[in-house]
């Protein structure tokens, strides 16, 4: 079955071609069918592959399609790798992807025909690239997907291209990703020059022999790539702006799948990271910092999508923390659960926006009675992300926190505090949106309504997943071998675990940790609920709050220290160096010749006497040269 893996990316690609080329002629329904159908196909295929992979005695499968680049020793073939990790991501991508496609058919229904098709074409293309990313059997193929998803996110953020703001957001996203990608590329070149190969199997087999410094370098460069793609400090600022795109896009790309590419990549190269402890520390620190920073900002945001965006960044921070402390399974686990509840949150938000045509939560409130399904699912998602047992978020987050505790208490403390913040801002959001009474205009209120089934059904499915998703990884303390995901992924991370075994926390200790995290979560929830359900804060924040509301002025900082100087320098080059120096010199030669001509021709005075005089002088000079200088 896994021989047919190429079908998985292929079918969305076909969908892309169909929708892209025939966008003028297809009806909306047909477009929708094609788009969802193709993704569904690949979901089914992935499922089949998944069952393959689950059979014991399964060996990692390399499906090589054709030679991409073969030069001398360097052999890069267009190959896919099927193993537990990739197949897991396949399921997440295609599954969540499919739901979001379905959702979009309703959400984007007001678009004109061909734009509608354009949207789905992009979406399919994205799924395709994402699949390439996770399937690639070497770093080059992975990079193809890596940049592919970047492109799609660019296209989708800028989907409403008439709006210049959106365009800028898209551009920002692309360029920041590019910065990361440069790091990724250089890492690849380093591998080529060091290992002479880019295939995972070869690189990982050669890695242990390489000096630690090299590995640290490579891994750090890769991590730079990850920070770009997965919105970590310092390259995270694009993600909140990326909310310019249609909400389903935010759900799919900027919550569920693309942004987790970085985690996938590092989990994939776990061996190299395990061999480079320095890098791990860096990752852990960056992860923790990002988690805290983003959460703190989320506390004061009033745009429903912005809140979710920052919470995404913060959650991603958690995942990196996990990677940093070597809890690869935990990271992947959180990716999965996060995919469920964050997608759900976004879709819920989308449904709200769809109904209220409004994104500012201060103008909402009391939606509970208007759109029950949305409300319930959203609530479940909030509970999940807040880490209330037995919802999925609890398990994954808890695993990460305990691992962090194991590594270094500080990580844990920060993590726990972030958990508190998370619970707080999520329920602030929930409360201001759904509780209380509606604060929008009357005619807004007039056509508030529950969204159509194409929207609610995905919500419900995702809600179920968000609730039960956690049981894929029940901590070992409850029952031996209950952590199914760990078992499942163990072949992938076997290498790292051989190198240094992650000794599990003592049972009682772990239970204590759980208690703490649950405690903080509940505190956050309760406080937020009580604070905002009746009287939400409607006036703009002040003092420290303002600092948070304005996102610590990071964007402004970047503007001041990078963008502006670069522009100024460019202007300087263009107007001063180019025109007044280089070109001036070039033309100067011409001018000099002209001038010299004008002067020298004055020798031709027209006077015979003058001529003869000059001739004689010339003769004398010849004599002097010949007789005096030569001797």
């Amino acid at each position: 079955m896994s021989k047919l893996v190429y079908l998985v990316p292929l079918s969305p690609f076909i969908g892309f071609l169909l929708n892209g080329l025939l966008r003028k002629n297809l009806s909306k329904s047909l477009t929708g069918i094609i788009a969802c159908g193709t993704v569904l196909v690949s979901f089914i295929v992935s499922l089949l592959i998944f069952f393959d992979v689950r059979k014991d005695g399964f060996e990692t499968e390399i499906v090589s399609l054709f030679n991409f680049i073969h030069i001398g020793a360097l052999k890069i073939s267009f190959a896919f790798q099927v193993d537990q990790l990739s197949v897991l991501f396949l399921l997440i991508i295609t599954g969540v992807g499919f739901l979001i496609h379905v959702y979009s058919t309703a959400y984007m229904h007001d678009e004109e025909n061909d734009h509608f098709a354009r949207y789905f074409a992009y979406l399919n293309l994205f799924v395709f690239s994402m699949l390439i990313l996770v399937l690639g059997a070497n770093y080059v193929i992975m990079f193809i997907g890596w940049e592919g998803v970047g492109l799609c996110s660019y296209l989708l953020i800028g989907y409403w291209f008439k709006n210049v703001e959106y365009g800028n957001a898209a551009k920002k996203a692309f360029i920041m990703n590019r910065i990361g990608d440069l790091g990724f590329l250089i890492a690849v070149f380093w591998m080529i020059s060091k290992f002479g190969a880019v295939t995972f199997s070869e690189v990982f087999s050669k890695a242990p022999t390489a000096p630690v410094a090299v590995l640290t370098g490579i891994t750090l460069l890769l991590f730079i790539g990850a920070t770009g793609k997965s919105a970590q400090i310092p390259l995270y600022t694009w993600l909140p702006d990326a909310m310019a795109g249609p909400t389903p896009v935010s759900a799919l790309i900027h919550a569920a799948t693309m942004v987790t590419a970085g985690i996938y990549m590092i989990a994939r190269s776990n061996i190299m990271y395990t061999l480079a402890p320095t890098t791990q520390t860096v990752i852990a620190i960056v992860g923790t910092a990002t988690a805290l920073l983003a959460a703190s900002i989320a506390v004061k945001q009033n745009d429903i999508k912005k809140v979710l965006a920052y919470s995404t960044v913060s959650q991603l921070g958690y995942m990196f923390l996990a990677l940093g402390v070597g809890a690869y399974t935990g990271a992947v686990f959180h990716v999965m659960t996060h995919a469920f509840f964050k997608a759900l949150l976004f879709l819920g938000a989308g449904s709200v926006i769809h109904a209220a045509h409004e994104q500012d939560i201060r103008k909402m409130g009391g939606l509970k009675k208007f759109m029950p399904v949305t409300h319930i699912t959203f609530l479940l998602a909030c509970l999940a992300i807040a880490g209330i047992p037995p919802f999925s978020g609890f398990f994954s987050k808890d695993e990460i926190l305990s691992a962090a505790y194991e590594k270094n208490k500080i990580y844990y403390l920060v993590g726990a505090f972030t958990a508190l913040l998370t619970a707080f801002y999520m329920f602030r959001l929930y409360a201001t949106t759904f509780l209380g009474k509606f604060r929008g205009t009357s005619e807004q209120e007039h056509h508030l309504h529950e969204s159509p089934s194409a929207i609610t059904i995905p919500l419900i499915i995702l809600a179920i997943l968000a609730v039960i998703g956690g049981f894929a990884g029940i901590p070992e303390v409850f029952a031996k071998g209950s952590h199914w995901l760990h078992q499942f992924l163990s072949p992938v991370f076997a290498g790292s675990e051989k190198i240094k075994e992650v000794h599990v926390v003592a049972a009682n200790q772990e239970l204590m940790l759980m208690a703490v995290s649950v405690g903080v979560a509940i505190v956050g929830v309760v406080y937020a609920w009580s604070k905002f359900s009746k009287n939400p804060e409607l006036e703009d924040a002040k003092g420290f709050g303002k600092l948070l509301a304005d996102r610590w002025y990071v964007d402004e900082l970047y503007n001041a220290i990078i963008v502006k100087p670069l522009n100024a320098f460019g202007k300087f080059l263009n107007e001063v160096v180019e025109k007044s120096i280089i070109d001036w010199m070039v033309n100067g030669v011409g001018k000099a010749v002209q001038y010299g001509s004008r002067q020298i021709r004055l020798l031709q005075s027209g006077q015979v006497g003058g001529y003869v005089l000059l001739m004689v002088i010339g003769m004398v000079i010849l004599f002097i040269v010949e007789i005096f200088i030569k001797k």
Binding site: G609, G610, L613, V616, I617, M619, V620, F623, I624, I627, F628
Partner: protein, 166 residues
């Protein structure tokens, strides 16, 4: 100091002095006359060197023919001192300096030439005599002699072309 030497020095001084006068004298006519003096002095030198033929030709052709031609032209244009207003003084000085510099350079070049034992044979040696020159001219140098006729022809034609009224 043999008479030859005295004669040599006399003629040399005469030649140089009158040459200077040629350049210096205001009126063209005077210049012509001084030039004729130069020619006579030089012919004297020729005789001293026992080159009678050249000496005679020099007198006949130059002093006789050419200078007369010059005189005619000058008379024809009745040029006199006034017709030549003062030329730019600086250019004059520059000219003199340049001429002097040329002389200096020549002298400088020649001073380290060892020509002490090289003597020019004076008042003896047969080669200057018409008979020998004639033999040489019409045996070895007949081709140049004939060729120079072309030159004359062209000069003649030229003079005609230029002079002819249209």
């Amino acid at each position: 100091m043999s008479p030859t030497q005295i004669l040599f020095w006399f003629l040399s001084v005469l030649a140089i002095f009158s040459a200077i006068m040629v350049v210096a004298s205001k009126s063209p006519v005077h210049s012509v006359l001084w030039l004729i003096v130069v020619f006579f002095a030089i012919s004297g030198h020729y005789i001293l060197l026992n080159a009678q033929f050249i000496a005679i030709v020099n007198l006949i052709v130059y002093a006789g023919a050419i200078m007369v031609l010059f005189l005619f032209v000058i008379m024809l244009m009745n040029l006199n001192a006034e017709t030549e207003p003062q030329k730019n003084k600086w250019l004059k000085i520059a000219g003199v300096i340049a001429g002097g510099a040329l002389l200096m350079v020549f002298v400088a070049a020649l001073k380290n030439a060892d020509l002490k034992n090289q003597l020019a044979q004076v008042n003896q040696g047969e080669i200057g005599l018409i008979s020998n020159l004639g033999m040489a001219l019409f045996h070895d140098y007949v081709v140049p002699f004939e060729v120079s006729s072309v030159l004359f022809l062209s000069a003649m034609v030229g003079a005609v072309v230029i002079g002819k009224k249209e």
